[in-house]
């Protein structure tokens, strides 16, 4: 079948101005919810789980549920600190990454995913390299040793949001598919 010809790339300045307006809109997105699926490919602990991410300004709550509806982990981050619940145990303090790893063995860059999921880079990380598509959306991102590919976007007024993301670092590979976005 004829492969659709790749759209000619718009000039960089145009894509960047599109990105700047888009980035401002995304930064004002303070209350959002995402329901999706997270595939984790790690040498001996691959799995797939459903994700529910609730973000309110700086605070977030993330539910990870197993394929049979069983609850795997709950991560809560607010100004009281961070709490991770899994396997009937509850831990506080430290970073969500460290807690989640201790409890489940998964290396999920939770604090970074919060930005990557929205289609924006984590702020104030020096070596960040970005590529933009013709709509001024992030198509490829490299930050803190992680590589993020934005494979699909969903148009979600007021601004389009990622539909399928691949996040990789070393032998860790994650695929996140967004099933439902809710932006207040």
């Amino acid at each position: 079948c004829a492969t659709t010809p790749k759209e000619p790339e718009l000039p960089l300045e145009l894509r960047q101005t599109l990105w700047e307006t888009r980035h401002k809109a995304l930064q004002q997105m303070n209350h959002w919810q995402l329901m999706g699926k997270l595939g984790l490919r790690v040498p001996d602990q691959s799995g797939s789980m459903s994700v529910e991410w609730l973000q309110n300004r700086q605070d977030f709550t993330v539910y990870l549920d197993g394929p049979l509806g069983q609850s795997l982990a709950k991560i809560e981050s607010n100004d009281h600190g961070i709490v991770v619940e899994a396997d009937g145990k509850r831990y506080q303090g430290r970073t969500p990454e460290a807690l989640l790893y201790d409890l489940t063995g998964w290396q999920l860059p939770v604090s970074y995913l919060r930005f990557w999921i929205q289609g924006v880079p984590v702020p104030d990380i020096q070596e960040t390299s970005m590529q933009l598509d013709n709509e001024g959306q992030l198509s490829h991102l490299k930050q803190a040793g992680w590589t993020i590919d934005y494979l699909e976007y969903q148009n979600q007024p007021p601004v389009s949001l990622p539909g399928r993301i691949r996040v990789e670092k070393g032998d860790i590979r994650m695929t996140l598919v967004a099933r439902r976005w809710q932006v207040k």
């Binding site: 997270l38 797939s48 598919v177």
Partner: protein, 205 residues
């Protein structure tokens, strides 16, 4: 009047007759197919519902297809479990193990006597239902309490309370017992382009 001593909650005593009856009832189910609606209630009250269809054939074969909110198939055949995720376009193949334990499916596809020997069984009966309650004798981390409910003699729901205070209720409808289900219904056709993660031969592809 003397103060009534505080009585510990009645430890369920084992009703051997009920256990026999339950073993007979479950073993009689050679195959079962049904639609399911599952409601999970987290210890924090968070509610999630899933629905789909399931097919089970003794020994050891089951298919648990979730249609909403996500499309996903869990199929067990010859001690292996295939987890097909349409959204992720990913298939994980694992050896059937405790962690992946889908209690309702395991109960209906596994060896009933074997499964039930670790539980105290009680029976509550009224004109509408027969409710068998299983409580583990050891400290099983599978669940704290499991109810198996029959209505008009047909398996109608399985309710489970896990050790984290969460509850899951699987309600069955359009139940068809001992109908013809061929083994080929439990073969998984892996769609083209899917990412296959085979953990059974513990050599990652």
């Amino acid at each position: 009047a003397p103060v009534k001593p505080v009585v510990a909650p009645p430890v369920q005593k084992h009703d051997a007759k009920a256990a026999e009856k339950l073993i007979r009832k479950l073993t009689k189910i050679r195959t079962i197919s049904a639609k399911f609606k599952q409601e999970s209630i987290g210890s924090d009250g968070r509610i999630r519902t899933e629905s789909g269809s399931m097919q089970i054939k003794r020994p050891g074969k089951f298919r648990w297809n979730t249609a909403s909110p996500f499309e996903q198939e869990i199929v067990s055949l010859d001690k292996k479990v295939w987890l097909v995720d349409r959204d992720l376009q990913q298939v994980i193949i694992q050896i059937q193990d405790e962690r992946m334990s889908n209690t309702p499916a395991q109960l209906l596809s596994g060896n009933v006597k074997e499964f039930l020997k670790d539980y105290q069984i009680g029976l509550y009966r009224d004109d509408k239902q027969e409710r068998y309650t299983l409580t583990p004798t050891g400290d099983s981390d599978l669940f704290e309490k499991l109810d198996i409910v029959f209505r008009d003699g047909v398996l109608s729901s399985i309710e489970l309370r896990d050790s984290l205070g969460g509850r899951r209720r699987v309600e069955l409808s359009d139940v068809n017992v001992n109908g013809m289900i061929s083994d080929s219904d439990f073969r998984v056709k892996i769609p083209k382009g899917y990412d296959v993660i085979d953990q059974t031969s513990n050599t990652e592809q």
